[in-house]
Symmetry: C2
Subunit: 211 residues, 2 copies
């Protein structure tokens, strides 16, 4: 059965998936690149990077997916909907290589990029978006790409099977929190914590199934 999975979603110790304010120059606000340095240091990101635990976790981001769904705030800085030429942060060949659904209340025509990524724009509920992406994924899994508020919405709707969250040892103090509204998550997910020699802690949430 195909799954809906979150990978490489980084948060601070105090649970923020991004700092603020987010902008074209600072996609993660005052967090800068600090939430993702653990990943940049791996071979997943950089040919000269390390191949240890962080690289193993990071590489799962690319395995077994037939589609991605992302929130509007991942696709561009605030106001990207007003720029008809905005095609995401990732250049001509985005790292998705599948149909990629951008949730927005202002849909626009699909955009075919290089490398197999096609951006589709959906004004849909989490359940409807997932059904659409699952059909496009052709039996493979669907990546839930973030940001924090999008992941929260999908968890609350009971649509997430597997969630990999990376806790980085910094305290941001402000931004968008992952945990808000996810009370008692442990009743619905088995939660495993594994600290890495790099200093981050990999949290893996696996949906519990009825016995």
């Amino acid at each position: 059965m195909a799954l809906a999975r979150v990978h490489n979603f980084s948060i601070s110790l105090d649970g923020f998936g991004t700092g603020e304010p987010q902008s074209l120059e600072s996609p993660f606000g005052h967090a800068g690149e600090r939430l993702h340095e653990w990943m940049f240091a791996t071979r997943y990101w950089d040919d000269d990077g390390q191949s240890g635990m962080d690289a193993v976790y990071a590489s799962r981001h690319d395995v077994g997916f037939g589609a991605e769904i992302m929130g509007a705030n991942k696709f561009g800085p605030p106001g990207w909907q007003d720029d008809p030429d905005w095609r995401g942060w990732w250049g001509d060949d985005p790292p998705f290589h599948t149909p990629t659904y951008v949730l927005t209340h202002r849909p626009r025509p699909s955009v075919e990029m290089e490398g197999g990524t096609t951006f589709h724009f959906l004004d849909a509920s989490p359940a409807d978006a997932l059904a659409t992406a699952m059909e496009a994924a052709g039996g493979l899994d669907v990546r839930l790409g973030g940001g924090a508020s999008m992941i929260r919405d999908f968890v609350r709707a009971g649509l997430v099977d597997h969630m990999h969250v990376v806790q980085v040892p910094i305290v941001l103090g402000r931004g968008v929190r992952l945990w808000d509204g996810l009370d008692a998550l442990e009743e619905r997910f088995d939660i495993e914590a594994v600290s890495s020699p790099s200093g981050v802690t990999h949290l893996t949430m696996t949906r519990k199934h009825a016995p």
Copy 2:
């Protein structure tokens, strides 16, 4: 040099050191005992408990201290100040065995308990309370006993040398947060994360010293 140290302070994944509402029947509110089960399972708490990593960390709570300071919310349930007979949660022989300073805006006469614990009641700033406790500790360290808001006050005042926080894989959603107002803690502390086979993650913050 004597240090001010926090030990065995448990928080949820979303950073709450207690649930709510706190009461005589439920000192940690809706969190119940879940924040501390990791400790109850160790030999530190229970003669039949386990002796692994969690026990090693937990036992540090009792080593090298000459005094404790705690916040009013640790000493009793809301309103304990109105009960002249309230002597804490811990029975006749509290587990402190040293002078123990309770911060409160309504001080009362000191109370000598069994086993070496004497409760003193102080209406003082964090710095003044620490100076008083350091003097009483006679060259040993001072334990900062919590709760969350008391620890935050001491961190913000630059008075904490060493802080052991135990992150438990539950999401509480409400209560008192440890991290609020501690932005950029990583600039002042080296932060080490070590996950335990029990499922909790031990965070050790060590104050950075000027080179």
